[in-house]
Symmetry: C2
């Protein structure tokens, strides 16, 4: 494991981004949009996806392996682009490494606590993220007077990965999951899984115009940019064409990943490589 | 790894049964029904489930680890109670161990080739099983004159695990997946994933009375019984109450597994233990 401290962090080093699979690409996409000079090493744990139905111990063990893999690229920072891993593993990862590490939960929680006016915030996410109560914890730290309603939506990821982004079945499942959040009159809904921005229009239509949707991917990229600026390690120059600015690694099925990734990111995924993450 | 040969196989040794998660319980249930004297060690790879969207290399590596784990119990035989693992890993597993090993694909293929009268057989399964063309290969070996139509149904497993066994959404998805098999007038449908018997009534209703559903779980238990009889290692005496006849192990989430398992198997899952399968 490479050891680094802030003074050794180089602005032209890449940013490590990881997720259980393809969902984190919505975060990578926001980073590409907001700080286009940065290099990214993306890892998707496609051999062990999904994380959202699994336990804290297992997700923490998987996340540590991935962080060790990303550190072989001497990344200057790591973005945990997975709500479940942010919920369960972020604290322990922070203790293990001495480069900055950002999860997607805190930035989303912060924005939601700021935009709510009636003090009722809904969170939709995986079973694991909802079970962890992590959004409730962070939001309550910022604003004691709000109430947070969590709802696990285990079918959203398989429906999204099947490509049913706009489909009557996804509508029907979304109406079932969201009905109780509509009934209790939330005015803010956190998309607490990195897949969910892909069905943002369906979710927005069902919730109605009076509900603000918070996309933690956007907020995370913004916080990442601020952090890099503060530490003086924002990359000032574009690495140039042919510089392998974006590299993608997966633990399984590189071709399938590439095809799905290209439907999310319009910058062109030149290649994705498969590695055995259990060796890290 | 324990080394055994037929002469050393004991009739009172347990049978190892494994699957990527809970689906293989439909196979375990058939074994319990058809040969009630047998002890079973069941392993569900719940930390890395599902297998059906993953590659041959990954599934073979996972399956080898599980076989090594099961061999620590000196099992007399192993049942690969997962179509995807049977499709991708069975041949390699057979070369690695010297106890009998049975997959779910061959028994299902054999029965389908026998029951079809119009020579048109449908197979529904995971992407990996369909992609492997394994059912086509086995059926063609038995009967050259049939045509096999495969259809991947990636949403069935998540819908079943969400408990929507009888639900309009599952009906709608099933109608979409099955429509082309109805159009080409198959008379036999293989339920090529161990989850699918749990929505058998939905599938039967949509396909209609003229189509025979083949459940490889049933056929596999029957073939297992015949093999144990032939080798003289069928357990003649019931192990008795309190003898820990059925033991369940998972790689994650033992409590959740137990709860789902109890909805499938009516014999009472007394306990399930979590182990780290990556250590095998």
């Amino acid at each position: 494991m490479s050891q680094q401290n802030d003074s050794k962090l180089h602005s032209d080093a890449p940013i490590g981004v990881f997720d259980s699979g393809v969902g984190g690409l919505t975060v990578a996409r926001e980073i590409m949009r907001q700080i286009p000079n940065e290099k990214i090493i993306y890892f998707g744990d496609t051999a062990r996806v999904p994380y959202g139905s699994k336990s804290r111990d297992t997700i923490t063990r998987f996340s540590k392996q991935i962080v060790r893999f990303l550190q072989t690229f001497e990344v200057k920072t790591i973005v945990v682009a997975c709500n479940t891993a942010s919920a369960y593993a972020l604290d322990e990862l922070e203790r293990e490494i001495d480069i900055p590490i950002i999860g997607v939960v805190k930035p989303g929680a912060k924005t939601a606590s700021e935009v709510t006016t009636n003090g009722r915030i809904g969170v939709i996410a995986t079973e694991a993220t909802i079970g962890s109560q992590i959004y409730t914890k962070y939001i309550k730290e910022l604003n004691k007077d709000v109430t947070i309603y969590g709802k696990a939506c285990p079918l959203f990821c398989p429906l999204i990965e099947e490509g049913l982004w706009q489909d009557p079945v996804t509508d029907e499942i979304a109406r079932r999951y969201l009905s109780e959040l509509i009934d209790i009159d939330i005015d803010t809904l956190i998309l607490g899984c990195t897949h969910y921005p892909l069905i943002r229009s369906t979710l927005g239509r069902i919730m109605g115009d009076s509900v603000t949707l918070v996309n933690p991917a956007y907020e995370t990229a913004r916080e990442l940019k601020e952090m890099l600026e503060e530490k003086g390690i924002l990359n000032q120059e574009h690495p140039g064409l042919g510089a392998n600015q974006y590299q993608f690694f997966v633990s399984d099925g590189a071709e399938k990943f590439k095809s799905f990734a290209n439907s999310i990111i319009k910058y062109g995924i030149l290649s994705a490589k498969t590695i055995n993450i259990e060796e890290y």
